[in-house]
């Protein structure tokens, strides 16, 4: 798993299908915001951030682990946990088939991966959601993996980073999904009792039940610039108030202004800022790992 990112870069899979048509070589990245085209290598070296306009490309757990763990060294946790279809849910497709198809197309088991590894030489547990798995929706697997990652932090006295990127709860697991909000919050009380720091990193997009549970419960709530963060989706809010939404509504900058974020951090500086924060909090109690 740790190597697959390099493989992906080689195959040019980091550019989305939409852009692939326009870039002949496949090893080029076209910024959807400023439309500038740069070599994929340069884009990756810049933490998947556009060097011209600072647009933060949506990336997944593979990329975040690569950016945050030293030399992409980490041990993935709870890989044995797989989703099921407890309610035998059928909408336009049946959930079981939807899961199988998504697992096939993404190579992921579910919408989150959790791992332990060194960040600037100090151990840390990182949980990272994957938006491409059914919109990063939170179901039982997401809840259970977060729960076990927190247990791992408590057992090994490690700090916790949770990277949110999600449309909210997974409808196909209905109330099971809803209760993952309660479950993850319950586990976070235990992490707090153990006095271990928890950084919630909110990325584009973070909405619904994810925002209304763990994403807002960090000792530090940190967001990437320009991310959509909210409880209700902007479309729902617009329908409710029957007016156009103000510019910049529900962006990271809007949340910082209203007092719900500690800081907005550029992805290029994320690793150093996070480890700096942890080192100040843990005051030498962090073990050296390499």
């Amino acid at each position: 798993m740790a190597d697959s990112w390099f493989q992906r870069i080689k195959e040019g899979i980091t550019t989305s299908t939409r852009e692939k048509k326009e870039t002949p070589e496949g090893l080029w990245y076209k910024c959807p915001s400023c439309k500038k085209i740069i070599p994929s290598e340069e884009h990756v070296a810049n933490a998947f951030v556009c060097p011209s306009c600072d647009y933060h490309e949506r990336i997944g757990s593979i990329e975040y682990f690569y950016l945050l763990f030293d030399d992409n060294k980490f041990l993935e946790l709870s890989t044995e946990i797989m989703p099921t279809d407890p309610l035998h849910f059928v909408d336009t497709k049946n959930y079981k088939e939807r899961l199988k198809a998504t697992q096939g197309s993404t190579g992921l088991n579910d919408a989150i991966r959790t791992a332990v590894g060194p960040m600037n030489g100090k151990g840390v547990v990182i949980a990272c959601m994957d938006f491409k798995f059914i919109g990063g929706s939170m179901g039982s697997v997401v809840g259970e993996k977060i729960a076990r990652a927190i247990d791992y932090c408590i057992e090994n006295k490690l700090p916790f980073v949770l990277i949110s990127k999600s449309g909210g709860a997974r409808m196909m697991e209905a109330a099971f999904s809803l209760m993952q909000m309660a479950k993850t919050s319950a586990k976070l009380t235990l992490l707090a009792d153990a006095k271990l720091p928890f950084i919630s990193l909110l990325t584009d997009p973070t909405t619904g039940g994810v925002t209304a549970s763990y994403a807002m419960l960090g000792d530090f709530n940190i967001a990437e610039p320009g991310a959509l963060i909210g409880f209700a989706g902007p479309r729902v809010v617009k329908e409710t108030i029957k007016k156009d939404l103000p510019k910049g509504f529900q962006t990271s900058e809007f949340l910082l202004e209203h007092g719900f974020l500690d800081a907005i951090v550029n992805r290029k500086e994320m690793k150093n800022k996070l480890s700096h924060l942890f080192s100040m909090l843990m005051q030498g109690k962090q073990e050296e790992v390499s």
Partner: protein, 319 residues
Amino acid sequence: MNFLDFEKPVQELLDQIEKVKQVGEKGKVDTTGTVKDLEDKIVETRKQIAGKLTPWQKVQLSRHPDRPYTLDYIEALTNGTFFELHGDRNVKDDKAMVGGLGKVGDQSVMFIGQQKGNTTKMRQYRNFGMPNPEGYRKALRLMKMAEKFNIPIVTLIDTPGAYPGLEGEERGQAEAIARNLFEMMRLKVPVICIIIGEGASGGALGIGIGDKVLMLENTWYSVISPESCSSILWRSWDFKEKAAEQLKLTPEDMLHNKLIDGIIKEPLGGAHVNPQEAFAFVKEELHKQLEKLLKNDPEKRIQKRIAKFCAMGAFEEKK
């Protein structure tokens, strides 16, 4: 009195009784026997309806316009002792979330719940039972106060969801709900949560973390309303009945999936048919649960509460 489409047979029988009585009075005839027969027939009809309620019909019953709301329950349970408390001490008093102290028998209880209105004017005043962040923060303030004075907490849940408005987003709807989930987990006093109507998503869960989470018989609890689920997954409003089935949102399903702790009986036909009886059932259950919970050590109670929510979920472990 309002009647849902599937309650029509009952309405017809009630109309018949009225007619028989009128005819009886005019002609000075004794109609007791006929009325009694019709009343028996109503009970029989109600039993038949109750026996084959679909999930969507339960959703309809949970929203029945004659159904008692939070303050109706509180008034009945506290027998004139209720003292309503207002405000979150920050922004305002959210009219969609009510709370206050009252006595249930000899026991002081902190009541909190979403409140709906029963006239057009009152529905607007109560914002249709959809709280803003200050509602959740008011709820938490009252819960913390209850903890300070060692008073158990009872929350009554009845909401179509937290309000998805502009100001709610500005004031941190998500943070307010998240904070409540976290803080309610470790309240040192017993917490009992009862879904008395609609239990829609995070807006319900925001006051729904308890040692005992119970649902009245004709209520629903899920991650989304059947209508919204239909519009998102089927891209049409026409699949609400199907969505209601798929979501497994009835008390029976929720209990079966170990996502709630119990079901409280309602009068035949629903709480709206005989509110006094509904209040009595809730009162009886409250006494029973409070007596048990108050005996436990606070730390053990918290551990048990946390363990219960941590056990929720359905997944596979591959070797």
